[in-house]
C-alpha cells in the first residue's frame, strides 16, 4: 500500500481484505469459542493469511480444525503443517477413520467419504464446544452458496435452513445463539476465484504444490482426469498415463480431478483462470455432480 492517497480510494482487493478482516475480528470479539475450518486448499490458506493479518502481532486467537478424510493429497498435508508451524496455531484434526473406529459414524464403505465428513465435522464441533466455525466458502462457487449469509445460522443438528435465514444488514452481523447451536462464518463470501488468485499472488502466499503445473500419472473417469493412487482403484477400461496437469481445487483425492495445464506461476494461473470457461467445481469436483442441488442438500445437513 502506498503512503498517501490523494483520492482516498481502495482497490477492490483492498476492500475485500478490509471486509474479511472486519468479520474475523467481529467473530473473535463476540463468540465464546470460534474455530477455523481448514481443508488445506487455496481458500482456507487465504483465510489463514487474513486471520493472521486481523490479529497481528498477536497470534490467531482460535484453533484450526481439519476434517481428515484419510483421502487427502500428501502435498496438501505438508503445506498445512508448515502453515501451522509458522503461525503457531493449535490444530485440531477430526479424522473420519477415528470416527468410524469410535462408532460415531457407520463404516459404510459404499458411502463417499465426502458425505462422511458431515457427521465427523458436526461431531468435532459439538465435542469441542465450538460456537462459530469459519469456512472458506465463496458465493461465486455455486448457486446455493450465492444465497448464503456471511453469518450462517445452524441449529442444534447443524442444519442450514435456507428459507429462514436472518436478514443481514450493513456490516452489522448478528451472532446470537441458543444452547447447542452454532454459526458458520464466511469471511470471503464476496471473493471470486480470480480474487483469491490475485491475493495469493499479491501476498506471496504459499499454497500446495499441486496447484502448479506438474507431471502426474492420471486416468480419465467421468470426463475428469483423476490421480493414480492405491486409494482409488482403477475400474475396467481405465488406463493410466502421464500428463502435465494442475489442480483447481483441493479435495478428496478420489473425487478431485485435475486439468491439463502448463501454468507454473501465479501469473500464468491467473491468465488461465481469467479465460476458463468452466467453474472450478463443475470442472473438477465429482461431489457436486450428483444432482442439481447436491451442494444445497449437503449444506442443509451441515456440510460446510
Amino acid at each position: 500500500m502506498s503512503q498517501t492517497h490523494s483520492d482516498y480510494r481502495l482497490s477492490q482487493l483492498d476492500q475485500l481484505e478490509a471486509e474479511s478482516i472486519h468479520i474475523f475480528r467481529e467473530v473473535a470479539a463476540e463468540f465464546e469459542k470460534p474455530v477455523l475450518m481448514f481443508s488445506g486448499g487455496k481458500d482456507s490458506i487465504v483465510m489463514l493469511r487474513l486471520a493472521e493479518k486481523a490479529f497481528y502481532p498477536a497470534k490467531i486467537p482460535f484453533s484450526i480444525l481439519q476434517v481428515d478424510t484419510g483421502l487427502d493429497f500428501p502435498e496438501v498435508m505438508e503445506t498445512r503443517d508448515r502453515w501451522v508451524a509458522r503461525l503457531g496455531v493449535n490444530l485440531v484434526v477430526a479424522s473420519i477413520d477415528d470416527a468410524i473406529k469410535n462408532g460415531i459414524i457407520p463404516d459404510a464403505a459404499k458411502i463417499s467419504r465426502n458425505r462422511l465428513q458431515i457427521p465427523t465435522l458436526l461431531n468435532a464441533i459439538e465435542e469441542n464446544g465450538f460456537t462459530a466455525a469459519f469456512g472458506g466458502g465463496r458465493r461465486d462457487e455455486e448457486k446455493a452458496r450465492a444465497k448464503e449469509r456471511v453469518y450462517s445460522h445452524r441449529d442444534e443438528f447443524g442444519q442450514w435452513d435456507p428459507k429462514n435465514q436472518r436478514p443481514e444488514l450493513w456490516s452489522l452481523y448478528n451472532g446470537r445463539l441458543h444452547e447447542g447451536e452454532h454459526m458458520r462464518i464466511f469471511p470471503i463470501s464476496n471473493w471470486t476465484e480470480l480474487d483469491v488468485w490475485d491475493y495469493i499472488g499479491r501476498e506471496g502466499i504459499e499454497i500446495p504444490s499441486i496447484y502448479y503445473s506438474h507431471q502426474r500419472r492420471v486416468f480419465v473417469r467421468d470426463g475428469m482426469l483423476m490421480s493414480e493412487t492405491p486409494l482409488n482403484p482403477l475400474r475396467e477400461g481405465e488406463v493410466v498415463e502421464e500428463r502435465t496437469v494442475r489442480f483447481r481445487t483441493c479435495g478428496d483425492i478420489t473425487l478431485t480431478g485435475c486439468v491439463e495445464s502448463t501454468a507454473s506461476t501465479i501469473a500464468e494461473i491467473i491468465d488461465e483462470v481469467a479465460v476458463a470457461r468452466k467453474t472450478e467445481r463443475g470442472a473438477t469436483r465429482g461431489d457436486d455432480r450428483f444432482s442439481e442441488a447436491a451442494m444445497e442438500d449437503r449444506k442443509k445437513e451441515g456440510y460446510f
Binding site: M1, Q3, T4, H5, Y8, L10, S11, Q12, L13, Q15, A18, I21, H22, R25, A28, A29, K53, F55, Y56, P57, A58, K59, R139, D140, E142, K143, A144, R145, A146, K147, P162, K163, Q165, R166, P167, E168, L169, W170, S171, L172, N174, R176, L177, S189, N190, T192, L194, D195, D198, G201, R202, I270, K278, T279, G282, A283, E292, A293, E296, D297
Partner: protein
Amino acid sequence: MAGTNMDLLRFATAGSVDDGKSTLIGRLLLDSKSIFEDQLEAVEATSEAKGYDYTDLALLTDGLRSEREQGITIDVAYRYFATPNRKFIIADTPGHVQYTRNMVTGASTADLGLVLVDARQGLTEQSRRHAVILSLLRVPHLVLAVNKMDLVDFDQSVYDKIYAEFTQFATKLNVPDLEVIPISALQGDNVVTRSENMPWYSGPTLMHHLEHVHVASDRDLIDARFPVQYVIRPKSDEFHDYRGYAGQVAGGVLKPGDEVVVLPSGMTSKISKIDLFDQEITEAFPPMSVTVHLEDDVDVSRGDMIARVKNAPTPSQDIDAMICWMTTAPLQPRQKLAIKHTTRTGRALVKDIQYRLDVNTLHRDQETKELGVNEIGRVTLRTTVPLLADPYSKNRTTGSFILIDEATGVTVGAGMING
C-alpha cells in the same frame, strides 16, 4: 495482477416479478463472460427437461431447490461479475411478497440501486416503492431501467412519458443521482452494446453507466469515526508493550498526531501510530481495517469510539429513527429488544411509534400504533447504553443499527437514525 487496481461497485436490483430482472442479470453475466459453460449447460438441460421453448436464465440465479420448484426468487442472492476496470457485486433482491425486508437487506450495502420497469406497464406501485426504499436507505445512485422497449416498438414517447413521470416523483425523494435508460434485456439493447433501434437515446448504455459511475466520493471523509472492535494485546516477549485498537474506519481520515477523544469516556489523547498488519501507515480512511495506537494509556475497549476532539458524535440514549420491521409479530410500544450499533450492543425500549410510512404514497399514518412485517415507520427508542451515533444521512455506518429479538435471536428490525 488483474484485480489489484480495480475498484468495486455494489448494486442492488429491484423490480416486479415479470419485469425481466433475471433476464437482465443473466444478460449482464453472459455478456461480461461471467457465466461458465457448465453452468449454462446445466440451465439449458433443465430448461429443456421442463419443456421450455427458450433457455430460462432465471434458473441461473434461483439457487435453491424450493425457488426452482416454485419458479420464484425467495431470498437475496449475491452475484459477481467484472469488466477490466471494475468488479461488481449484485445484491439480487426478489420482487415478491417479502420485498421490503429483502430490499432493505440488499440496499443497505449498495452504492447504486437498479429499478426495472416494464415499458408497457409504466411506473407501478412497486417501482415507486422500490425507489422510496432505495432513497430511505440513502443509496446514492439510482438507475431506472425501462425494460422491454422491444415490445413497444422502441417508441421514444413511451420512454419520455415514464421519464417525466419518474423525475416528477423523484423530487419528493432524496435521489442525488438518477439515470433513466431504455433497454431490452432480452435482445440486449443498451445493456452492454448501444441499441441501433433507439437512435433517439443519447445517454450511456447500462453497462457503461455501471462501469463509470463515480462512487468514491460517496463516503464521509470529513468526520473521523473509528469504532473499536477488538483490542490487540499480544502476550509475547517481542511485543510486550503492544496495545492496539483494531477496527474498520467508519468515517473521515485518521493520521498519526491527530488529537482524539475516546467515547463514551471522553478521555483525550493523540494517535501515536496506525498499523496495517505489519506496516505503519500515515493515514487511514474508510473502509480500511487497521490498528490504531494512542499516546496515553487510556482505557479503551470494544464498543468505544475514537473521534476527533472537536468533531465527535454526542453519546445519546434517546434515539429517533426510521425502522424497517422484518418479522410477523408486530413492533409495539413498550417492547424490549437487543440493539447492535457499530461494535456496541445493548437493549432498547420502544418508547413511541410516531408514524407508519406508506411507501407507496409517502403518507405518514399517525393513527397506527404498531409496525407489521415489511412496514417502515418512525420510532423513538431508549437504550441501556449510550449510542455513539450520527444521522444516517451523514454516515451509513454510524447511523445504522439492527434490532434483535432476545428470545429467538433473530434480526427483526433495521434502523436508520434521524438527524
